[in-house]
């Protein structure tokens, strides 16, 4: 093992101190090593940063201690590439010997590491990737998901739209697994509630122009549009939706990420009025959330996103389970049992795992982008109640 000069000095000093003080200083317990595999470069870099900041905030609140052990984070950039994700997770386990794993923004990455994590019985907390299969036929007792499934956030919205917004809807979505799953879940409850889908347009990920898709939507004269797009795709779509003059006349309903705070920052007024369903809102008026949003803003000088919130809750899940076990996490069966019992009120409301699927059971909220005291933000307009993915 090679030491850098600084490490050498630090360790030398520590050794000297230890010798000088003798047995009076109780040896500190070995650090709890948490491997974090998130994208820190590429299109999902901001998500990786937000999740990490959320985790850091919670760990700092508990003085970087869990079950009497200091917490040590080992970060790896998985670049949202499945092959890289698997390599980095393998490295975290085999080389860094981490006790726990967390991260994964893209569903493809989560699927890529699933078998390795399952077969080596490492506990993984998925802090974003929302593909349904990880809760269904590819679930693992060692994988806990603190974020959402595409079904969980989109299914409740369909019925609400049919009852409250419009019955004739056109659909636009990004052409990849999560987009298609979201649309399927939306349609499931929307059609059951008497809705009618007049057209469906799927656009390639990373498109730079949506006017053709919007032109197609206009042609069928829908009463409302349902969409799922994220990141820059969403920003471009919303701008062009407004430029076509549809913003005021054809209500836009979406799965939350399409008009999450990051997108609102980018497009401003063009997002105003859009409805979305999600498991959190920055303006969710419960004390736990107000405290979280304030603390986050003070620490990072930024408004937290839903991803920050997921990082924060993931950190809390880890700390609560490790506390319950007094730091002994080597026995995986006991760890899983302790995790199944984790239950708390966090920024999103009541947080608990479904013991059958290890997926979080949570409230889903309908939000609308509104001008609230000087700035645009998502205000909660309806609480659709607790939603459990059927698995």
């Amino acid at each position: 093992m090679r030491y850098t000069r600084r490490q050498l000095v630090q360790r030398g000093l520590a050794l000297g101190m230890g010798l000088a003080l003798g047995n009076r200083v109780r040896a500190q317990r070995e650090a709890l090593r948490i491997g974090v595999a998130l994208p820190y470069s590429g299109v999902y870099a901001q998500l990786g940063e937000d999740i990490t900041n959320g985790m850091l905030l919670y760990f700092e609140e508990v003085k970087n201690q869990a079950g009497g052990r200091p917490i040590q984070l080992i970060r790896e950039d998985e670049t949202a590439d499945p092959a890289v994700a698997l390599r980095k997770v393998t490295k975290l386990v085999e080389q860094d010997r981490v006790d726990l794993l967390t991260g994964l923004v893209s569903t493809a990455s989560a699927y890529a590491v699933r078998d390795y994590v399952h077969n080596t019985r490492n506990v993984l907390f998925v802090s974003n990737a929302g593909g349904n299969a990880l809760t269904r036929d590819r679930k693992s007792p060692y994988i806990f998901r603190t974020s959402f499934t595409s079904w969980q956030v989109s299914f409740p919205l369909g019925r609400w739209v049919a009852e409250r917004v419009a019955k004739r809807v056109a659909i636009v979505a990004a052409d990849y697994a999560f987009g298609r799953e979201s649309v399927a879940a939306f349609k499931e409850s929307f059609l059951a509630a008497g809705g009618q889908v007049v057209d469906e347009v799927y656009t390639p990920l990373g498109s730079t122009d949506y006017s053709a898709a919007i032109t197609r939507l206009v042609r069928v004269r829908p009463q409302a549009v349902y969409g799922f797009l994220a990141g820059s795709d969403a920003a471009i779509f919303l701008k062009q939706y407004a430029q076509f003059g549809l913003k005021g006349s054809v209500p836009l309903t979406t799965t939350g990420f399409t008009v999450e705070e990051d997108v609102i920052q980018a497009v401003g007024r063009d997002a105003e009025g859009a409805y979305s369903s999600l498991h959190w809102a920055v303006r969710l008026a419960i004390p736990e959330n107000l405290r979280f949003v304030q603390a986050y803003q003070r620490r990072f000088n930024r408004v937290p996103s839903v991803y920050s919130m997921q990082g924060y809750d993931t950190a809390r899940v880890i700390v609560e389970a490790v506390n319950a076990l007094k730091g002994e996490v080597a026995n995986k069966e006991k760890l899983v049992e302790a995790l199944e019992g984790v239950r708390f009120r966090g920024p999103r409301g009541l947080f608990e795992f479904d013991p059958k699927t290890h997926q979080v059971v949570q409230n889903i909220y309908v939000r609308q982008v509104r001008d609230v005291g000087g700035g645009l933000a998502n205000a909660v307009v309806a609480d659709l109640g607790r939603v459990r993915d059927p698995g």
Partner: protein
Amino acid sequence: MEFYALVVLNGLAYAALLFLLASGLSLVYGVGRVLHLAHGGFFMLGGYLGYTLYQRLGEFWWALLLVPFLAVVVGLGAERLVRLVYGPDRALEQVLFTFGLAFVIADLTRLLWGAQVLGVPAPPQLNRPLILGSFFYPLYPLFLIGVGAAVALGLWALLRFTPFGVQVRAAAGRPSMAEALGVPTKTVLQRTYLLGVALAALGGFLGAPRIALAPGLDFTMLILSLIVVVVGGLGSVAGALYGALLVGLADSLGQAFFPRFSLALVFLAMLFVLAYRPEGLTGGRR
């Protein structure tokens, strides 16, 4: 019928942006035989610089005016570096060098502006649809089509009627003869480079109200502009224009009728052109 008109207008607006980007790429290649792979980077940089100017000044038009100047300032520095690899038989070095420059620009913009998605709103005068009876279409893309046409005309006039244009055509056609006749090819190349960079940055900012600013935009646009110049014929402005129109319209038609394969359609169009006109639509001058 209306639907097809909309699809064509979308394609033209997209073509206008592609033309701004690709004309510079093509000119620089024509004059200096340098394939400038950092061009997409300047497109993105123009968008980000414009974003900051817009935030500071609060006025779209001022930002639009200043972006090309700022880009030229940055371009002056970049040209000093790219100059190191000028030369007829240094293609590999040029590709590596300018591609490296593209990464440097990408990381610098990331450092300065972060990874979050940013946007510039369309100016209020243009942020509404044009309504003609039952037909309506957003004004901003119409404005883009106008700018694209104006720049195409301006470039044509510049190359056709000005001394600079004569020098550019001379340096592009017969570089050694031009040099022998006293055309300062290095200076001509520098000016062409700056012109190309300014156009790319202008395109980046003009595109910002339609395209989101986020990491990765540079390489997406670079690939599209490479398709444009390959289809049109490397080295000529007219080629860039035809290429941009073909790619823009192919993309728009693809998005409207089979959105899943719109990019494939663009490549298919390229394949057809190359199969029948291997030197591109304008034939190239070799």
